[in-house]
């Protein structure tokens, strides 16, 4: 990972990318791809996420001149990602979680369990589901989530803990319904 941490570095990367510097734009991609991926994964089927991530960054590449404040790139990319997910649903009928199950690689039983957990996370309120996916899927720390999304550390901490509490409750409820 090559995160653009400081405001001046970020501004430099955005300015260079605006001038067509592919290396600078790749650096921005490395910094923000996981965040965009998580925003999309919270909304669209897994098999469509990777293509949509590429679409989001392609759109961002074209529209980068419109970004006034380089420091706001995280929120701006997240907004593009949310719009892309809406467009995706307009274009295609929503696929079932079964598709995700098949799409996820690895051991079939574990993949099925992963798809089920992901479905439960997606069912949480949006603020919790996005933050939990950033943490549990993308492996970002609370600080990284705050930095990439533009949310305050306090908000991220609240979203993580409340979201996790809800997730635990729903997993327990599911397990108790499934029986021994």
């Amino acid at each position: 990972m090559d995160p653009a941490t400081t405001r001046s570095e970020l501004a430099g990367l955005v300015a260079a990318a605006r001038q067509g510097d592919h290396a600078a734009f790749h650096a921005l991609y490395r910094s923000y791809a996981r965040m965009v991926h998580a925003v999309l994964l919270a909304r669209v089927p897994y098999h469509a996420v990777e293509d949509l991530v590429q679409d989001v960054f392609l759109q961002a590449y074209r529209e980068l001149p419109r970004l006034r404040d380089p420091a706001a790139i995280g929120g701006w990319l997240a907004a593009i990602a949310r719009n892309c997910s809406r467009d995706h649903f307009r274009r295609t009928r929503e696929t079932s979680e079964l598709t995700d199950e098949h799409a996820a690689p690895g051991d079939p039983a574990a993949a099925a369990e992963a798809a089920a957990v992901l479905a439960i996370i997606r069912g949480l309120p949006e603020a919790y589901s996005e933050t939990l996916i950033l943490r549990l899927v993308e492996g970002m720390t609370g600080s990284e989530i705050s930095e990439r999304t533009g949310l305050s550390p306090g908000s991220v901490r609240v979203n993580l803990h409340r979201g996790m509490k809800l997730l635990r409750e729903r997993l327990e409820r599911r397990d108790s319904h499934a029986g021994p």
């Binding site: 790749h26 965009v36 993308e138």
Partner: protein, 348 residues
């Protein structure tokens, strides 16, 4: 010392793991983003225009240009629409029961070209011409709107008295009387006349031009001019002039015209004059000749010495530049600064 923060695996994603969180992480890691960015298209030339289009400078400039266009074209147009009425203005009853076109004016009514407003001894009316003029018609007056179009409002005061306050370019308002015609030069004035043309023009702000046949006189604020039947225009004078000065002037303008009477009246006028009354002398010099002209110039020079560039001989022969330079010494100013009299339009 504050106690150290307890370890929070959910926040830090490192250190001693929470077993359930670690289990979920392990399950979900298969969904983690891993793909690199695909090839980007080359930068298109048009993007440089986009850069300009979306730059802050461009947007601020575009906004400023739009605002300037609005100010330059739309606002004056809108102001003109509001300020200058088209083919009708408002006639309002101020007191009693004035009449408009033979009917009682209860509150307000439209007054158009050809319309007639009359007041009796107990009534008073006001004519509002957009934002640029207000004319009060005093008791026992009769006024007809002769012409009404944007940029020219012409009324005929057949008898009675009006007070006018205007804020408009010179010669927008014109008032005909049975005698001379008064042209507003951006001002406030009162004008009264009877059916035969006898009356008084009194200017309170700015200037008014009185015109009759080929004679034109400009009357500044604080001055007045008598109107007499038969198309006689009185020489303008400042109203604060001594009574003897005003009486002598009236005799010169309208009294017996035999040489002895005129000579006596002129002597009285010259003796009573103050420096400010040289304005009246200068108006008289337009028509005076012979000995009277010499006496006016000599007394005028005595009261208000002209600048060094002006000679007595030049004034006697009526040199326009010298007369004008001498007039400037009076500090009356010129009639073209009508816009400084904008307060005249405010209700008083």
């Amino acid at each position: 010392m504050p106690a150290p923060e307890p370890h929070d695996y959910l926040w830090e994603a490192s250190g001693q793991p929470d077993p359930e969180i670690a289990r979920i992480e392990q399950l979900l890691v298969r969904y983690r983003q891993a793909a690199p960015l695909r090839a980007l298209p080359p930068l298109q030339r048009a993007r440089r225009w986009e850069l300009l289009l979306w730059s802050r400078t461009f947007r601020v400039s575009a906004f400023a240009a739009a605002a300037a266009l609005l100010l330059l074209f739309v606002c004056p147009w809108a102001l003109r629409r509001v300020a200058y009425p088209g083919d009708a203005c408002d006639a309002m009853c101020l007191m009693g029961k004035p009449h408009i076109n033979g009917r009682t004016l209860e509150t307000t009514a439209d007054l158009r070209a050809g319309g007639l407003v009359e007041t009796d001894g107990a009534s008073q009316a006001e004519i509002r011409i957009g934002l640029v003029g207000r004319v009060t018609l005093h008791p026992n007056s009769r006024m007809r709107m002769v012409e009404m179009r944007r940029g020219r409002y012409r009324m005929a005061l057949e008898r009675g008295k009006i007070s006018a306050r205007t804020l408009a370019p010179p010669f927008t308002f014109v008032v005909d009387t049975p005698g001379p015609t008064a042209y507003d030069v951006g001002c406030a004035f009162t004008l009264e006349t009877d059916e035969h043309g006898s009356g008084l023009l009194h200017v309170t702000s700015g200037w008014v031009q009185l015109e009759l046949d080929d004679r034109q006189i400009l009357i500044p604020a604080g001055a007045a001019s008598l109107l007499r039947p038969g198309g006689n225009l009185g020489t303008p004078y400042f109203e604060d002039a001594p009574e003897s000065f005003r009486a002598a002037l009236e005799r010169l303008d309208f009294g017996p015209q035999d040489p002895a009477s005129r000579d006596a009246a002129l002597a009285e006028l010259l003796a009573a004059a103050r420096p400010r009354d040289v304005f009246t002398f200068q108006e008289m010099l337009r028509t005076a000749s012979g000995d009277g002209r010499r006496r006016l110039v000599d007394r005028g020079i005595e009261l208000v010495p002209p600048p060094s560039s002006v000679t007595r001989a030049g004034l006697l022969r009526g040199d326009d530049a010298m007369v004008s330079a001498w007039r400037n010494q009076l500090g009356i100013g010129g009639p073209k600064r009508w816009w400084v009299n904008w307060r005249d339009i405010l209700p008083q």
